[in-house]
Structure formats: C-alpha cells, structure tokens
C-alpha cells in the first residue's frame, strides 16, 4: 500500500526521520515518492566520517581532575549539532540521538568526554544493523560500563545496576517476562567486565572477577556469560516488541495502535535488524495518521536544529547559542537518568515554554540585524512583509510547517496588521518570535 506523496506526508517524514525538510527538500520528496525518499533517508553510506570531533583530553587527566569542562561539553554539542545540520544522512544523526536516549548514559557521572564521544561513535557505527550486536557492543562500552557500575561488579559482590537496566529499559521492558531472580542471574553472568588503563581504557575481560558458576536465566541453565544472557534475551518475543514500541515512542507518538505495533514487531523480529524496523515504520500507513502527525512535541535538540536550519542562521551565530538546547531542558551527552529524556508533556512545562519564548525572541533579534547585514533569506522574508499571506506561508514553510491552523494564522495576521507602520526588520523580528512559539513549530 503506497503512501501518498503529499507535501504534508513528506514534510512529516522528514521531520520525524531526520530534523525536518526545507521547502526544496519537501518538493523533491513529493516528486520522488515516499518509498524513494525513505530509501534515501536510510542510505547510511552518505554519512561523513565522525572522527572530526574536537580534540579530547586524555582520560587519565580527566579522571584525575573531575572538575569537568563546560566549554568542551558545548564544543561537543556544536560538533554534533553541526552534523545534524549538514550531514547528507541526517537520519543517521537522528538515529544516533535515539540510541543516546535509549542506552542513556550521562557525562555527569562518566566525566570523561572521550568516553562519551566513543559511545556516540559506537551508536553511529553499529546502530543501523544487528540489534543483538549493538547490545553486546554497548555491554562492553567504557562509558556504559562505568555508568551502570559494571566495573564494580564481581563474583560474591554483585552490582545489579547494568543487568536490571539491560532488561528493564534496553530490551524487554519493565517486569515484562523476567523476575528479580533473573536480574540477579544476569548480574552474575556479567561479572568480570573491566577496562584496561594500560590499553587506553579499552574493554578487557578479567576471569578472576567472573562468577563462572551455573545460573538459570529466563529458564536457561548453564555457566552463562554476558553474551549468553544477551542471546537469550534476543530470542524472547518481548524484545522486538518492546524495542519497536520505544522506536514508535520517539519517532511517532506516545502509544502505537495495537495492529501497527504488531506489524512493526513482525518486521523487526525477522532479523532484529534496525534498518528493517525503520523502513517498516516509515512506510507504514499508521505512521502518517493525523494523531501521529500531531503526536510529538519536538525535543529541544530537534526544535533548535529545525529553527537554525530553517532560518539559515550562520555558524558564528548559532554556535555560541547552542547552550539554548540546555536551557530548553536537554543537555546532550547528559540525559537526566538512565531512562533518557522526557517526552511530550515534559517539553510543554512552563519552564521549557518560557525558555522557548526567550530563544524565539532572540532569533527574531538576530533576524532583524541580519536584514540590515544583507543576509539573503532574512532580506527575502523582509521583502515579503507587504504580502502577509505569502510571507506567512514562506516563513512557516521554512520552519517546517506545511499546514498552519486558523488560530495561528489569525494571530500572526493580526500582528502584521498591528505592526504595519513599523520598519521591516522590526516586523520580521516580531513575526519570527511569534512563529517559533506556535504549536505548528513546537510540535515535531
């Protein structure tokens, strides 16, 4: 069943799969059709190498001086946001952001920026294929091992943190087919995982810390290792269903219709391949339902990237302002806890709405100055102010909103009428301030 290649559907696909489409990108998608647009989005080979991150301190230095470098954290924000803005494979950056929220790990405990960058690169490298292989790689990821205390765990003095979150948050879902006894058995299987300071803190298995005894995990008995536990988990039907539901939660809406989740689960369970799941999602009619198109509030990172890209804000202006994402309540590399960031209502809290209003106003202030500086898009928009309907269609189109509600349009037309005697840069600033806080732009 083909999905109709309307502007509404293509704009929705580009906003969810990536960070939104500019008008010409939406037009290209309409011409090519939804399936072809999906295949281009899933072409991971288009992604540039990710070794161009800022220079990182030696882990030993950072461990010795855990004061933390706020500026380095901001530099890493700029590095990643730049990839979201400019990569020919933005869907891979969106997927990397998804894994970062799924296997949520925070710099605030890990303290070593190199470890967080290493984990980010792992998600980009291994996040598109085999989910079992990704999970095994995450179990050996230095940042994750430190974050969930796997480095502490040993035979006779178990630390269950990693084992619990592996089952509860990363694979099967809370209390969904396992018991506390299984958590303990899994924790025993994962003992002995360490990092080797003499080898750049790379993963090393240390047998003398490993509990090599017999365990029973999800009904399977043996001298189980960590990889065995992951294999057993991956063979359970709960796993593809839970992971598919989490992908829906972040890409589509809060709750999938049961039939849709069945379809996505079946597609994913065939090979436990992430690209299979994404393709099934982006080509499913349920993904394009009204409730789904109005079903997600943009995460701060998504909103920031869409605004910067849509208004063509230059790097020397957006780079210092990347801290705005944190003000909106999302600090990259530092999710609030292992459950990841909030969802929908979280981003509509008064504190977030207030920060968004400030950010939107400041974008307007920039745009006014940009008109005077001859910025092409700002100048073009200012020139359209004499034609309110065309101006609004163009502005909202740049901000990714193909459809604008009557309520929003009336408020903006009212502003344009009330401000008619003012100079164009000032009017443009006000219009951007307003448009960037409209529901059509706040929703993803």
């Amino acid at each position: 069943m083909a999905i109709a290649a309307t502007h509404v559907n293509v704009a929705h696909l580009l906003r969810r799969a990536a960070f939104g489409g500019l008008p010409e990108e939406i037009e290209a998608g309409v011409q090519a059709g939804v399936e072809a647009t999906v295949e281009r989005l899933l072409d991971w080979s288009l992604s540039p190498p990710d070794t161009d991150h800022p220079p990182l301190p030696d882990p030993r230095e950072q461990l010795a001086d855990p004061g933390g470098s706020r500026e380095l954290t901001l530099e890493l924000h700029r590095w990643w946001v730049n990839r979201m803005l400019t990569s020919p494979a933005p869907a891979l950056e969106k997927l990397t952001l998804f894994w970062h929220g799924h296997f949520a790990t925070s710099l605030l405990k890990v303290r070593v920026h190199a470890a967080m960058v290493n984990q980010n690169q792992l998600f980009r490298r291994a996040g598109t294929g085999s989910f079992p292989e990704l999970t095994k790689a995450v179990s050996r990821d230095p940042a994750m091992m430190y974050w969930l205390d796997l480095l502490q765990s040993r035979a006779g003095a178990l630390n269950e943190n990693w084992a619990r979150e592996l089952l509860e948050l990363f694979t099967m879902g809370q209390n969904n087919g396992y018991t506390q006894a299984d958590v303990t058995a899994a924790a025993r299987a994962f003992t002995g995982y360490r990092l080797d300071p003499a080898n750049g803190y790379a993963f090393v298995f240390v047998p003398r810390f490993h509990d090599g005894g017999t365990k029973t995990f999800l009904g399977v008995t043996g001298a189980l290792t960590g990889d065995d536990v992951i294999d057993i988990v991956m063979a359970r039907p709960e796993t593809p269903r839970f992971v598919a539901s989490r992908v829906w939660f972040r890409y589509a809406s809060a709750t999938p219709p049961a039939g849709v989740l069945d379809d996505l689960t079946a597609a994913f369970a065939a090979r436990l391949d992430v690209t299979d799941l994404l393709r099934a999602l982006f080509t499913h009619p349920g993904f394009y339902a009204d409730a789904v198109r109005h079903g997600l509030v943009g995460q701060p990172t998504e909103s920031f990237v869409r605004l910067i890209r849509g208004l063509d804000v230059p790097p020397d202006v957006w780079r210092p302002a990347v801290i705005g994402i944190g003000f909106l309540g999302q600090v990259l590399f530092a999710p609030p806890n292992v459950g990841g960031w909030g969802h929908n209502r979280t981003w509509l809290a008064t504190s977030v709405a207030g920060a968004r209003a400030i950010l939107s106003r400041q974008l307007g202030v920039w745009a006014a100055a940009a008109v005077q500086g001859g910025h092409p898009l700002a100048t073009h928009l200012a020139g359209l102010l004499g034609q309110p309907d065309l101006f609004l269609q163009t502005l909202f189109g740049r901000l990714g909103a193909v459809e604008v509600s009557a309520g929003t349009a009336d408020a903006l037309r009212g502003y344009l009428a009330d401000s008619a005697g003012q100079a164009a840069p000032r009017r443009l600033a006000g219009a951007i301030h307003l448009a960037a806080t409209a529901p059509e732009v706040v929703l993803q």
Partner: protein
C-alpha cells in the same frame, strides 16, 4: 510587566544579587516567634517538598543503635557502619548521621518528625516505577496525574491564581500534573541566549503572543497543550521571574532561598517542590558520597527556615525519595531497597518518631527493610492536616493519617 528582561527589571527595582541578607537567629528564637505546635497560623500555610533523587539510604541517615536492630545494622553494613563520632544520638535507640547537626537541633526542639518504614506496596526495585508511584501518590505508576497536581485541582476553585498554586523550582516534575490545573515550573534564571542579553519585549508582539497562546477551536490535543504552555509561561514569567536569581545556581540551597523570597513576597503558592542537586543512588563509593549529600541537605533546609524568620510558622518541609536502600553493604555502597526514612519538619510539626521502625532481623526475600508506613499516609497527612484539603479526594478514602500536625 515584562517577563523577558529580568536584568533590566531587577535593576529598576534596585535588586541586589542573591537573596537578602538575613540577621542571624537561633533556632530557639525562631521557634519562639512561630509559637507552639498547634498555635494559630497567621497567613496561608505552605508545604515545601524536597526531592532526594536516586533513593536516599534511610539506614545511613537515621541509624539504629540499640538492641537487635543495632547489632544487625553493624553486621549488615560492615565497613560502612557508622559508630562513635559519626553519629548524633537522638535517643537511646536511634542516631542521626553526624552530617545532620542542624536537623538534630530541630529534633531537640521537638519539631523534627522522623517517619520510619515509609514505602508503598509495589515490589520492584526500579527508579522509574518507584518515582512514578511517589509522584502519583497512588499505587498505579501509570497514573497521568501527580498528588500535588490533584491537590492543586482541589485548591483551584478557591484561588484567584490557580496556575501558581504549586511551583517547582527545578523544572517540571510529574508530581505537579493535575487533571484540571497543573503546578508550574521554573528553573534558575538564565536569560543570555545568542550572546545577547534580553531585550525589552515589543508590546505589539506581546499582544499577538497572547492571541497566539489563546485556545483555538479545532486544535488537536497536543497543539492545545502547546498553546496553554505558552500562556502559562507568560504568566509565571511575569509573576515569578523577577524573583529568580541571576547566574543559574541550581543547588538546593539556592532553590530554597528563592522559595523563602517568594513566600516573603506574598505569592499565592501553597506547595513548592525543590530538588536536592545530588544523586542519592549510592551503589558505589557510598562512604564518600553520602556524607556530602547529607551535609548539603542539612545546611540547605536549616538555612531556609532561618531565612523565613517570622514566616517560618507557616511552613512545613518534608523530604521524599523514591525508595530506601538495601540493608546489606555490596562492598562499595548499597543497592535499591524499599522502606525508607522521611523527614517532616517545621514549627508546627509534632516532632519525634512516627511509624514503626522496620526490623533488621526480619528482612524481605531481597534483603530489604519491610515497610510499616505507607507513603500515602505521609502525603495524606500533609494534604489533610496541613493544607486543609480532604485527602480522600486526592488519594482515595481510608488512608490512615499520622499524628504529624
């Protein structure tokens, strides 16, 4: 009033940096000014909730020092067990961790309640479901409302400004979500974005901003929520914004200092929610981490009441955490547990022990302390006996109240 140019507004007011300096006072004189427990409280009663995120270790906060519980504690905690000058005895049976000298003074004045064995009946050890239950105030963690939000729903009809009835100083927390009206949230003030300080808002823009934020017919639910969020932000920004500190200090002490300022300013807020900036999830390195967490707590809450001065009698402060921690020491710290110790303090509080202390010689199958007191009882008491809202409407009927107030 312009909410988006706090720096200019504050300069106009002649506002200095940070909270007003407070004349030093002894706890005894503070309590004398507030009057005895049960005295008529002039002015609206305020509840301040302090969230200790990560699962505070009740056993490393209020320590059993006598009898079978005391011996079992020493045996279970091994190298982590406190003794000697790491303890501040409350009586023959319990001691506070030595990092809590301020709370110990409150205990001696009879205004610190130690509530033992607090938990709920869900039997899992997950931060997320336990937080969800703590916030919801009912056993179902999938509740879409929080108990503070449901309390606000019931205070709203009598209030001229329902949006401000409950306020979080550390961003949005689900405990604030109500069915009709939700609590509001702010974070430490940061108004420098794009390297440009806040410019005065254009009145033409602000008029349209209000129009844009007004409910619109035909809005799908999330769109409607997005508009409502902007309206709420506008109002909270105009009212609370001028009192937020410059500089973005997220600490508990700073949040409580702001609460004291807002109370003094006469805001209609009845419930404040603040968050301790530390992580109480001490699976590892507890010996170093727990003392620092408790020191910060002690200084912040006692400093808060000092700052309140004459208004202290109107305020009850209560701590909560999503669960306690296991009796046994894992070699570096402790793992997720169940029953916990919660504090309730204030000039109006009946100090002393409340609830039965769990037995350390009769642990559950996970090695956790068995609950004796439901979280609902504590919260219902705060809602019913202090805020004057019928707890049955918030928690359901039949929740036994404690003699805290």
């Amino acid at each position: 009033m312009n909410p988006y140019s706090r720096r200019q507004f504050l300069k106009t007011l002649g506002w200095g940096a940070g909270a007003a300096a407070v004349a030093p006072t002894t706890l005894a004189s503070l309590l004398a000014q507030a009057g005895p427990v049960g005295a008529q409280v002039a002015g609206e009663r305020v509840l301040v909730l302090v969230q200790l995120g990560g699962g505070n270790d009740g056993l490393d906060t209020v320590v059993p020092i006598s009898g079978p519980n005391g011996s079992a504690y020493t045996a279970a905690r091994g190298a982590l067990a406190r003794s000697g000058d790491r303890l501040l005895p409350l009586d023959a049976d319990f001691a506070l961790a030595s990092e809590l000298p301020g709370l110990r003074q409150w205990w001696e004045q009879g205004r610190l309640a130690v509530v033992h064995g607090v938990h709920h009946e869900r039997d899992d050890l997950s931060h997320f479901s336990n937080f969800a239950v703590v916030w919801a105030g009912v056993s179902d963690p999938v509740s879409s409302t929080g108990w503070v939000g449901r309390t606000v729903d019931r205070l709203a009809p009598g209030s001229s400004d329902p949006t401000l009835l409950a306020l979080s100083l550390d961003g949005a927390i689900p405990i604030l979500a109500g069915a009709e009206v939700s609590g509001s949230s702010v974070t430490a003030d940061r108004n420098r974005v794009f390297g440009v300080p806040g410019a005065p808002a254009d009145p033409t823009v602000m008029a349209s901003y209000r129009a844009l934020s007004d409910p619109a017919a035909g809005d799908p639910p999330l769109d409607a929520s997005a508009r409502a969020a902007q309206t709420g932000a506008l109002h909270v920004g105009e009212t609370v914004g001028p009192y937020l500190p410059e500089g973005g200090d997220d600490s508990l002490a700073s949040q409580l200092a702001t609460v004291a300022t807002l109370i003094a300013a006469g805001l209609p807020t009845r419930v404040y929610v603040v968050t301790h900036e530390g992580d109480f999830d001490v699976h590892a390195n507890q010996g170093n981490r727990q003392p620092a967490l408790l020191s910060t707590l002690d200084a912040a809450v006692t400093g808060f009441f000092d700052q309140l001065g004459g208004a202290a009698g109107r305020v009850v402060l209560a701590t909560y955490s999503e669960f306690g921690r296991r009796a046994g020491f894992n070699g570096s710290g402790t793992d997720h547990g169940a029953a916990n110790v919660w504090f309730v303090m204030g000039p109006a509080v009946q100090g002393g022990h409340h609830g039965a202390a769990p037995s350390l010689t009769d642990l559950d199958s996970h090695g956790n302390l068995r609950p004796t007191t439901s979280q609902q009882s504590v919260n219902a008491t705060l809602v019913g006996s202090w805020l004057g809202v019928d707890p049955a409407g918030v928690f359901g009927g039949g929740v036994p109240l404690l003699g805290l107030l």
